[in-house]
Amino acid sequence: MKLTNKIKASHARDYRSVLFVLAAAALIVAPIIIDATVHKSSYVIDIMVRILFYVIFASSLNVINGYSGQFNIGHAGFMLIGSYTGALLSTKLGMGGVWYWVAIPISGIFTAIAGFLVSLPTLKLRGIYLAIVTLGFSEIIRLIAMNWTAVTNGPMGVKNIPKIWLFGLRKTSSPMVIYYIVLVFVVLCLYSTYKIINSRVGRAWMSIREDSTASQSLGINVNRYKAFNFMLGAFWAGVGGALMAIYYRFISADMFVLDEGFNVLAMVILGGQGTLVGPVLGAVIVNLITEFFRFADEYRLVLYGLLIILTMWLRPQGLAGATNTVLAGQAITQDSSKKTAVDDGADA
C-alpha cells in the first residue's frame, strides 16, 4: 500500500517536472517561432510582454492579499514607486545602460521600504480600514508624482528613459529582448515566492491569515511578519515597475491610477488568490480577454467590468482557487463560525 503510494507520488512528480520543462521550453521558443511565422509578430510579442509584467504585479499582490490575508487594494502605488525609481535613476543619475541592472534591484528595495512604511500604520488595522489606507497611499503617491515637478517632471512624465545594456545588443527595448529579460524576472519572482511560501516565513504568513491570535500563541511576532509580507510584495511590484520603465521608455503618473491597482487585484482574484498559479492564470486570461475585445474598442472596459461581476457570480474563489484557503468563498459559507471570525476581523 505504502509502496504503491510512493510509486504514484514519484510518477506524479515526474509528470509534473516533464510538464514544467515543456512549459519552460515553450515560453523560451514561443517568441522566436512567432517572430518567424506571424505577420505582425512584434504586436503579438508586445502582448506577451505585457502579460509577463502583469504576472509579476499580480503575483506580488498575491503575496500580500493571498498569503497573509491582508487586503491591499492600492498596489498601483508600489508599481509607481518602482517605475519612477528606475526611470529617475537612469535619467537623472545616469544609471542607464549597464547600470540599470543595479537600478532594478534598487527600485525593488526602495519600493520595499515604501511597503514597510505603509505597513506601519496598517499593522494595527484590519480588513476595510487597511484597505482604505492602501488606497489612500496609492493616491497620495500618484499625486506627488504628478505635482512634484522638480523631481518627477510632473504631469509630463519621465521621457527618454535610456535602454538597458545587454551584451552589446542594440535593440534592447524591442519586445523580443524585453520579453526574455522580463521572463527571467518572472521566474525569479515565482521561484522565490514558492520557496518562501513553503518555509517558516510562509507558514507564519498563512497562520496569520487563518487565525492571528493562534499564531501569536505560537510565539509568532504578527506585526513583524505582516511588515515582511508587505515588503516582499512591494519589492516585486517595484522590480516589475522598473522593468516597465525600460520597455515603454516613458512613464507618467497616469499609468498608475487607482483603476490600474484594481485591475491587478481583479487578476489575482479571477485567477485565485492564495495559490501560486492563480495570479499567473489571472494575468494571462485578463490580458487575452481584453485583447480579444479589442474589436469592441471603446466597449472593451465595459465588457471587462461585466466579466469581473460574472466571475464573482459564478466562481468567486477564482479559476485556480480550489476551496482550499480561508479566502475561498464557498468553504466559508459552509463554515459559519469561521465566517463570523472573518467578519469580526474586518470590523474590529
Binding site: I132, I140, I309, D343
Partner: protein, 301 residues
C-alpha cells in the same frame, strides 16, 4: 481673513462631502458591505441633472429630486448585482463585484455621455453674501459666501434633518435602524430584512446622487470620471466617522473639506496636493484611532 475665507469654503465643500458620506454610511449600515460603485452613483446623479436642465429647463429643486430618483434606481440594480447574492459570503467578493460594476458604469458613461467635461447651468452667478469686511492698508478684504455656497449648505442641512427625522420618527426609518444594528435580531422581530436593506441602499444612493449634483454645481463641471475621487472621499469620511455612524460620517466629511482647504491656504503652491491632504488626514486619523474617530464601538477584544 484669507484663512478664514478658506475655512468657510472648506465647510461648504465639506458639507457636500458630508452628504456623500451620509449616503455611504447609510448603505454601509444596512448592507454591511463596502462599495466602490458609490462614486459612479454620484456621477450619474450629476449627469441626470445635466440632462434634466437640458430637457426641462433650470429648476434646481426638481433637478435635485431627479438626481435622487435616478441614483436610487441605479442603486437597485447595484443591489441586485453586487450585494444581494453576497451578503453572507466573504466581504471581498462583493467588493470586487462593485469594482467591476464601477468599471462598467464609468466606461459606459464615457461612451454615452462623452469623455469631455461638461458644465452645469450657473445659478446665482456672481452674487455674494458678505459676512465681514475690513480694510487694511487700503486693501479691502472680504469674508463672503456665494449664494451657491449658501444653497449648498442649506440643502445639506435640510436633507440631514429630513433623514434624521425619517430614521427616528417613522416606522420604516426605525426598521432601517434595526437592520443596520443587527440583521438577525431585526429578522427575528419581524422586519423584512431583504426589502429594508434594498430601501436603505436606495436612499443612500439617492443622497449620493444629490451630492453629485451639488458637486457639479460647485465646480461647475461634470465628467464621467468624476466619481473615483468623490467616492473615495465619501468612503474616507465614513471610515473617519466610524463606518455606520451617520453623524460621524457627516463630521468626517466636513473635516475632510476643511483640511483640504486649509491645506491649500497654508501650503504655498499646494493646490495640486488638495487630495493628498484629505488622504493624509484619513491615514493619520486611523493611526490615532484605528476604528474611526467617532466610532461608537470601543476597544472590546
Amino acid at each position: 481673513m484669507y484663512v478664514l475665507q478658506q475655512l468657510v469654503n472648506g465647510i461648504c465643500q465639506g458639507s457636500i462631502y458630508a452628504l456623500m458620506a451620509i449616503g455611504y454610511a447609510l448603505i454601509f449600515g444596512v448592507v454591511g458591505l463596502v462599495t466602490f460603485t458609490y462614486g459612479e452613483i454620484i456621477m450619474l446623479g450629476a449627469f441626470s441633472a445635466f440632462y434634466y436642465f437640458i430637457v426641462f429647463g433650470d429648476n434646481l429643486i426638481l433637478s435635485l429630486l431627479c438626481g435622487f430618483v435616478v441614483a436610487g434606481l441605479v442603486g437597485i440594480v447595484v443591489h441586485k448585482v453586487c450585494y444581494q447574492r453576497f451578503l453572507d459570503a466573504p466581504r471581498y467578493i462583493s467588493l470586487i463585484a462593485t469594482i467591476g460594476m464601477s468599471m462598467f458604469i464609468k466606461n459606459l458613461a464615457i461612451i454615452v455621455f462623452g469623455s469631455t467635461m461638461k458644465g452645469l447651468p450657473l445659478f446665482f452667478e456672481g452674487q455674494n453674501l458678505v459676512i465681514a469686511e475690513r480694510t487694511i492698508d487700503g486693501v479691502r478684504q472680504q469674508l463672503s459666501l456665494t449664494y451657491l455656497q449658501v444653497v449648498v449648505i442649506v440643502t445639506v442641512v435640510v436633507l440631514s434633518i429630513a433623514l434624521t427625522l425619517f430614521l427616528n420618527k417613522t416606522r420604516i426609518g426605525m426598521r432601517l435602524r434595526a437592520v443596520s444594528q443587527d440583521r438577525k435580531a431585526a429578522a427575528l422581530v419581524g422586519v423584512n430584512v431583504k426589502n429594508t436593506t434594498l430601501l436603505g441602499n436606495c436612499i443612500g444612493c439617492g443622497f449620493g446622487g444629490i451630492a453629485g449634483i451639488l458637486l457639479g454645481l460647485y465646480y461647475n463641471s461634470i465628467i464621467p470620471t468624476m466619481g473615483g475621487v468623490a467616492g473615495l472621499k465619501a468612503f474616507s469620511a465614513v471610515v473617519i466617522g466610524g463606518l455606520s455612524n451617520i453623524a460621524g460620517a457627516a463630521i468626517g466629511g466636513i473635516s475632510i473639506g476643511i483640511v483640504e482647504n486649509l491645506g491649500i491656504a497654508f501650503i504655498p503652491n499646494g493646490s495640486g496636493y488638495r487630495d493628498v491632504y484629505a488622504f493624509l488626514f484619513l491615514i493619520i486619523a486611523l493611526v490615532i484611532k484605528p476604528e474611526g474617530l467617532f466610532s461608537r464601538r470601543t476597544g472590546t477584544v
